[in-house]
Subunit: 135 residues, 2 copies
DNA sequence: ACGTATTTGTACGTATGTATC
DNA sequence: AGATACATACGTACAAATACG
């Protein structure tokens, strides 16, 4: 896979797309280690900053998780059930402060449940599933 | 507001935080134009790339929207109601392809509704609200 | 237990392209 | 046409966490 420098799509986007394809095809299974940034630099002939931006795109989409030792395909988390009989459900991205407080990773939205009257409840979307009408 | 170069928090994060505070306090109202990147460069004495990263953080959180003419505080969108009697509700971030196809901005999650049996329905979280038990 | 190599994070400056005013 | 403003991309450098001998 070689990037196209004359394409209208940004290089970092092309690189993100090629990695995304490898993840969705199952070639890179959940939990698996991704190649290092410098590997992609060699493979595509772009700068490390560009590769890092591609990684940021995938983190934002919740496809990968990254720490100082590298990046991995996000493993599926077990999701707790939250039952709801009456109310509303929405979603939004957390602020950094909320992410820290709730201990959730990048690319994970918050589910916002309003039961009427009370304060809204928020749940990390990778660890909760709202069950409706199953009572 | 002056950034602290000796603080352990990254400069781009400090700048994002200061803008976020101004938005949440209402000083920067929804729909309002933000100062230009170079204004923040002058104000904080950092590079433009660092300011651009702070902006990217706020876009990712869905707080601001950016186009070629600048950045604005995200105006509230009217949200259509989706009623649900029985099923599950979750949320996740869209891929770039989905964002393009559905015409949604950065920092907006997808709400995933499963009614059982059928394919899941997806809704941009800034334009839909799931109503439960109000039938 | 220690040092080294690897890998990502942060931040700078710079340059070019492109859309808007 | 010119000024403004953001997007993309390069190279570079150092810091910090982790992994490995």
């Amino acid at each position: 896979m070689v990037v196209d420098r004359f394409a209208p799509t940004p290089l970092y986007w092309q690189i993100a797309e090629s990695i995304r394809t490898r993840i969705e095809s199952g070639e890179l299974a959940p939990g698996r280690r991704l190649p290092a940034e410098l590997d992609f630099v060699e493979e595509h002939g772009v700068s490390r900053v560009t590769v890092a931006r591609a990684m940021a795109v995938l983190r934002k989409e919740g496809l990968i998780v990254t720490d100082r030792s590298g990046s991995r395909v996000r493993p599926p988390a077990s999701r707790a059930s939250v039952t709801l009989d009456r109310g509303t459900v929405g979603a939004r991205m957390p602020t950094d402060a909320e992410r820290r407080k709730l201990g959730i990773g990048e690319g994970v939205p918050l589910i916002v449940v309003e039961r009427g009257g009370q304060d809204p409840e928020i749940y990390p979307a990778d660890r909760a599933l709202i069950e409706v009408g199953t009572g």
